[in-house]
Symmetry: C2
Subunit: 277 residues, 2 copies
């Protein structure tokens, strides 16, 4: 479940290693994760130079030369290993997709569950990566811009935060504490949020994701060299603490269902004026 901090860490590593390289090989042990046949994929992307590798929400984007906007877009789904072994190192065993460059690098990807390697032509305006909202840590996303994103929305705040078309990069793992630090219940309807709560959410997003990013991402994920992140869920105040005291007020954390995802909340810090717990 790599989210923005992990994706940024991985993409930065890939950019360091691959920017300027030319793709020379693609091997696929699981064709369903592509959006074309392996043969089509090779026609589309091989012999092309990787201009840059950049993170975008939960996606890793390789920009290709020759045609503006052409991308290789990687989504790690609900968890994946993505490795770039050093020259002296043994390549991993059970890859699902392997990408080689003429310069001798190899990217090995093993999806745990539901991941994709897509080719996105520059003129494809409908691919999910074209519909992403602003990155949750985008420099330009100040509190006013964030308030603007919420404008006119009527649904629950957690569904909004997880909707990649609204704001990109937040998944369930970090959502718990983003909401808890702001003292906002996940089921609060957006129009009921006060300016202070909106500012609190904006600050929480930057704090929670920023702290993890500074530590190289969550400790259950690894960078492209296999090194784990140093952000531990121990630092959460409610996330994955069901049945234990809230890190802020001591009230016992409870797990509720919010839409399709489970969510841990502190009933003390995150009251729901409207109705249920």
């Amino acid at each position: 479940m790599p989210e923005l901090p992990e994706i940024r860490t991985i993409a930065a590593g890939l950019d360091d290693a691959l920017a300027g390289h030319t793709l020379s090989g693609l091997e696929v042990a699981r064709p369903q994760c592509l959006n074309g046949t392996p043969g089509e994929m090779r026609d589309w992307i091989l012999a092309r130079r990787v201009v840059r590798v950049k993170p975008r929400g939960k996606w890793i984007l390789f920009s290709l030369d020759d045609i503006a906007g052409d991308l290789v877009a990687i989504n790690l789904g609900m968890g994946a290993e993505i490795r770039l072994p050093g020259a002296a190192e043994e390549p991993p065993d059970h890859y699902r997709v392997r990408l080689h460059t003429r310069e001798g690098s190899g990217v090995f990807i093993r999806f745990w569950w539901l991941g994709h390697v897509h080719y996105v032509p520059g003129d494809d305006e409908t691919h999910p990566v074209r519909l992403l909202g602003p990155d949750a840590l985008d420099e330009g996303l100040d509190v006013d811009a964030f308030r603007g994103l919420l404008e006119g929305r009527r649904g629950g705040i957690k569904a909004f935060l997880l909707d990649q078309r609204r704001i990109a990069g937040i998944g369930n793992f970090y959502a718990h504490d983003i909401l808890a630090r702001a003292g906002v219940h996940p089921l609060r309807k957006i129009p009921t949020l006060g300016d202070d709560e909106i500012a609190g959410l904006h600050r929480s997003i930057r704090e929670v994701l920023g702290e993890s990013l500074d530590l190289g991402g969550a400790d259950y994920e690894r960078d492209i060299f296999g090194r784990p992140g140093r952000f531990s869920r121990e630092s959460f105040i409610v996330g994955y603490r069901e049945g234990t005291p809230c890190g802020l007020c001591g009230t016992t954390v409870v797990r509720i269902r919010t839409g399709s995802t489970p969510g841990d909340i502190c009933p003390g810090c995150q009251p729901l004026p409207e109705d249920r717990t």
Copy 2:
């Protein structure tokens, strides 16, 4: 609530009267029913020739010359008067939209509730009239084509029949008896329908709409000269007969809610194996 039979009757009358005419005037007492300002509308459509007037589902389409696919699209919403008074006749009083032609004809439209007069450029691929399914009485819509439309659909059959993007021209008024004649409960899920039931629905659509069309449409609607149709709801076997015996089997007709629309059914003819009445 004009549906396919009434729309075909009206469109045929307008085509007889206006095909070849050139639009010369547009007056609007209710600008909200346009998809542009009255001034824009005039720029778009005046001085242009009406090539043909054709029915399409519940829409009346004026094809304009000069640019292929350019249309004036009229939707009568939940009921409207649309009149083309004879030369000697007094024009109606309370129009909402009035359209004149250089040749001296005038079309007067009074929307009762939620109707539209839209300009649809030929390159607009997203306007509702571009997304319509095949006309319910389309010559080419044989039983195999109809079965093809149902393929892959999982929802209730009535929601399908009323969805203009699937099949165009059926509204709630005729839907009751289309379902009843085929002995199909409105909430039946499409994948549970047998081949015989699909064939029955196909036949019912043609019978019910065809009978009304042959009679000039429903008797509560009028043609462009103000003459009422001759199709009476008295001939329905279940539609608008709540509390009275089904015209086929004598079981008392009941009104149920099916999704967002009310629907009369015969519990005898239209059992629902799955669950509720």
